[in-house]
């Protein structure tokens, strides 16, 4: 086994998991919303970028911000649809409606983009780097750097800006936030838009590696859910660490045992942590740290 290569693979996969999970983590940490439509939002981000490139002839680097913008709009629509349930913290209904929202997105995407697998072509995917025994693409490097940048920017925004403080206030106590003269529906709008934008951004960076399908959302949601839960349910820093850890675990388990059983092994790990250390999984009062 080429251990350095597997470690690099793990770091790349781990950053992909963390980047895909960051929007959901924010949504869960700040709005206490379990969004089972997250995977389908990822799929929409990838397909919007693919469609934009085909329809306009513009390059990948222009398609990325376009997909992010559409993702933010999708998040804003979610806020309008789910705000009442979010405010009343009707968690069971929220899970059901987000699951339904995801299925509706998948159906709409099937109608709009067709059933065939497509390729989101990034010029960076063809640029290879060989460093001794290790190989990776420019797309891999871009995705790792972008993930670190997103997490650092989020850390800064949450802890150093007035909107970030408002998000932390809403996360802790929405009614009390109102008594700060803050319109919490606007704060929720920002959180939902970030969720949509972040997952679309993740899709444009991660999806060029494999063919994209309108049915790929559910697979994505499953692994992202594990990252979000293992990261501490709504902890931003925790989801980065959990994404990286699961990425390394996936790469090493795949190389040492078999890639076929990786998902099962990750879920066994999740169950073990939930049974043995449930106290570490509760959403903390300070999700931003």
């Amino acid at each position: 086994m080429n251990v350095p290569q597997q470690l690099v693979n793990g770091i790349i996969i781990g950053h992909a998991y963390a980047l895909v999970a960051v929007g959901w983590t924010m949504l869960l940490g700040a709005a206490r919303l379990v969004n089972f439509g997250h995977g389908q939002m990822y799929m929409i981000g990838a397909f919007v970028a693919w469609w934009f490139m085909g329809a306009t002839g513009l390059p990948y680097v222009v398609a990325v911000p376009f997909a992010v913008l559409v993702g933010a709009l999708l998040g804003a629509i979610m806020q309008r649809l789910f705000l009442r349930l979010t405010l009343s913290q009707d968690l069971v209904n929220l899970m059901i409606v987000t699951l339904g929202f995801g299925q509706a997105l998948e159906g709409a995407a099937g109608l709009a983009f067709g059933p065939k697998p497509q390729t989101l072509a990034s010029p960076f995917q063809a640029m290879n780097f060989h460093l001794g025994p290790v190989w990776f693409t420019a797309q891999d490097a871009l995705q790792v750097i972008a993930t670190i940048a997103v997490f650092l920017a989020l850390e800064f925004a949450l802890n150093r800006t007035s909107f970030g403080t408002a998000v932390r206030m809403v996360a802790e106590d929405p009614p009390l936030t109102r008594l700060g003269g803050i319109d919490i529906s606007r704060v929720y709008m920002g959180i939902f838009a970030f969720e949509g934008a972040a997952v679309a951004f993740a899709a444009t960076l991660v999806a060029p590696r494999t063919p994209i399908l309108t049915s790929m959302g559910f697979d994505q949601v499953v692994m992202t859910f594990v990252v979000v839960v293992l990261g501490g349910i709504g902890s931003v820093g925790g989801s980065y660490v959990a994404g990286l850890a699961i990425g390394l675990f996936t790469a090493l388990f795949g190389a040492l045992v078999s890639p076929a059983y990786t998902a099962a092994a990750v879920f066994a790990l999740l169950i073990a942590v939930m049974v043995l250390r449930p106290d570490k999984l509760a959403a903390s009062g300070n999700f931003a740290r």
Partner: protein
């Protein structure tokens, strides 16, 4: 910086159960009005309804005017920006934010002409908060949390401050410090409506009292008159005050 509050025909109901039915309540500018009553009398429900704020969702009807303007039904955050500020019972601070972050975390008032307390002003009023400015709200003592809650409210330039049981759970010395500070704010021109179960403490600082029972006003008047009201003496002050 002062405001006049008029409440008329206020009804607050949870489902079919009417928790508060107050026909009239008046707070003159620059005065400290107390609302007293036993546990469950509807004091918190009343003050929360005036601020249109609640963790539940009661049905509220009636008219609330501030300086003659009908503010009934305005969202809580809009009332805050217009100068009506509630400090709720118990948790008026954010536990996960530092003292300084708690004091910085507020929207700008609609009227920039109103006097907003700077963070330094709040520290001058409550010096112990300055020493603990980098500590999380959750690590403060009960008294410090109440000071911080009042400090947060002052940061938003209130014309009318509604305080819900600020003395609850505090040591007598801390109650005295807090209520004397509130009295000082009123003497400087702020209008305050204070809900208080500690009647002895409320009588020391208020100008006017409303006695609430089963959600209705049983008696009201100046403190001097109310101190001699047999219903208050019997229920709250004990025979020695008679």
């Amino acid at each position: 910086m002062s405001a006049r509050l008029e409440v008329s025909n206020l009804r607050v109901a949870y489902g079919a159960s009417v928790a508060v039915a107050v026909d009239e309540l008046l707070v003159e500018p620059g005065t400290l009005v107390g609302v007293i009553g036993a546990n469950g009398a509807g004091k918190s429900t009343l003050i929360n309804a005036i601020a249109n704020w609640s963790r539940a969702e009661p049905k509220i009807s009636g008219t609330i005017r501030m300086d003659g303007d009908d503010i009934s039904g305005l969202a809580a955050h809009r009332l805050v920006r217009r100068g009506l500020q509630l400090v709720p019972e118990g948790r008026g601070v954010f536990m996960g934010l530092t003292v300084e972050e708690n004091l910085r975390a507020s929207a700008d008032p609609d009227d920039s002409g109103r006097k907003a307390y700077s963070i330094e002003d709040v520290y001058a009023l409550f010096p112990s908060l300055h020493q603990r400015r980098a500590n999380l709200g959750g690590s403060l003592s009960g008294g410090e949390r109440q000071m911080l809650a009042v400090g947060r409210a002052l940061r938003m330039a209130p014309k009318l401050l509604l305080l819900d049981e600020p003395s609850i759970g505090l040591a007598p010395r801390m109650v005295s410090i807090l209520l004397r500070t509130i009295r000082k704010l009123v003497d400087d021109g702020l209008t305050v409506l204070l809900v208080e179960q500690n009647v002895n403490a409320a009588i020391e600082v208020t100008d006017t009292l409303y006695l609430l029972e089963y959600g209705r006003v049983l008696a009201s008047g100046s403190v001097a008159d109310m101190k001699d009201d047999p219903r208050i003496i019997e229920a709250y002050l004990g025979a020695s005050h008679g």
